[in-house]
Amino acid sequence: MKEMDNNELDALINASLDGSLCEAEAEQLSQWIEESSDARKRYWELASVHGMIEQSMQSASLKAATGEQPVTPVRTDVLSRWRRITSVAAGVAIGVLSASLVWAYTIPLVSQTPREVKEILFESFEDAEVKFPGRFPAIANQWSGSLASVAREDTMPEVSGARVGQFSKLAKSTLSYARYLIDLDEHPRPGNEHVRSVEVEASFFTSNPKERSAFQIRLAAFSQEPAEIRPIWNDHELLFDTVLQHVGRNYVTKANGQSGWHRLRTTIEIPPRTRTVVISLGAGDHKPGAATSDHFVDAVRVHLVDSFDPID
């Protein structure tokens, strides 16, 4: 065994983290790691930095330092700026950022291919009379869940219109959800050389930015028609055997953070046999039992994105 040298070990660990190890280097690094607790400790020290930078990169101050994005919470007067961000991760959180991660990406992160984008839903909960069914939706094009249309409070910056959706407080240890189904049969299918994605944006608000809140967008694709989804969704075993594609974005606000709307975006690539897409928006207190905050949603936008992707 070649004698371990810390500088060489660091170089190999860095190459491993960059994915640029050659086969012989991978073999050498593996051997040192298998045989030396010092090597494992050193690996973890560097690899942990690699694993954590992504999270820290989400911090607004750091982005501000790069000059790439403003740091103010989302408000109407800056919304147009977001349109200029053309190469973004599949899931993005914009606004007052803290720990915010995507646990599933399914589409290329930087796309140079021609895209056709069509907005199929814009919801700002302006209808004061509407009553949202509590149960999971049985039909497409209807919101349901723990949600009510309420007048925008004075403390809220305007995102869209005079009303917003308010999540009901349910059990203290879970999020409250609003659901919506898209029936893709209502939309012309793209050509064979296109890949279809559904992109969902929504703005979330907490009444108490001193406490941490959790916001979530989840998307799931099914081959079944909308009326068949409820029993599947409510049976975990069946669902995991049935769902074609599933992505989500979790976003946790900072304690004592700034007041403002938190804008999240998530995209799901649509498998060819997909009939129904479930949109699930969630919000709640980060700590069980805290129950100190009200949570709101507004300006939900859903786009169909068809990207030209010819098969070689």
Binding site: V49, E54, A104, A171
Partner: protein, 178 residues
Amino acid sequence: MPNPDDRNEAPDATERVQLLFVRHENSIRAFVRALQPSLSDADDVMQETFLTISRKASTFEQGTNFVAWACGIARLKVLENFRQKKRANVLSEAAIIALSEDAPSPESLSEMQDALDGCLERLTAKVRDLLWRRYSRRQSSTEMAAAAGMTSTAVRVALSKARVALRDCINSQIQPTR
């Protein structure tokens, strides 16, 4: 994944572990990315981990260490991913197992994360920009090189130096209290 919402009673086991996943995602992801440096592979592993903890929710004992439980599942998913890809230029399975057995505690990772935020601010704007392009915008070395007017090799060297500098900074921040 789902949260049966045909009722308003207390959440079931699946909902509870899913919420715990939301709360502790940072720690789990840091663990996964350390063992699975590739961003896309780490995303796949996180996805699989989320689905598996949902399936196995009933086996999680309330009051025990959720992060440790979830990382145990994530570790298996990392190994599955390695076996499926069968790449020659990555760590051996034995090395991954050895590393996962010596993984830092969630508390230790949390402490490092806190220190990291301060250490990042000490880097130059140019280096922070490179890190942001790599880790937030997920650019390749080639894309970063084009944007920064550097060679790909220079980009990789700069990233390596940045990680080493951050490691040393973190160690200097947290070791005195250990």
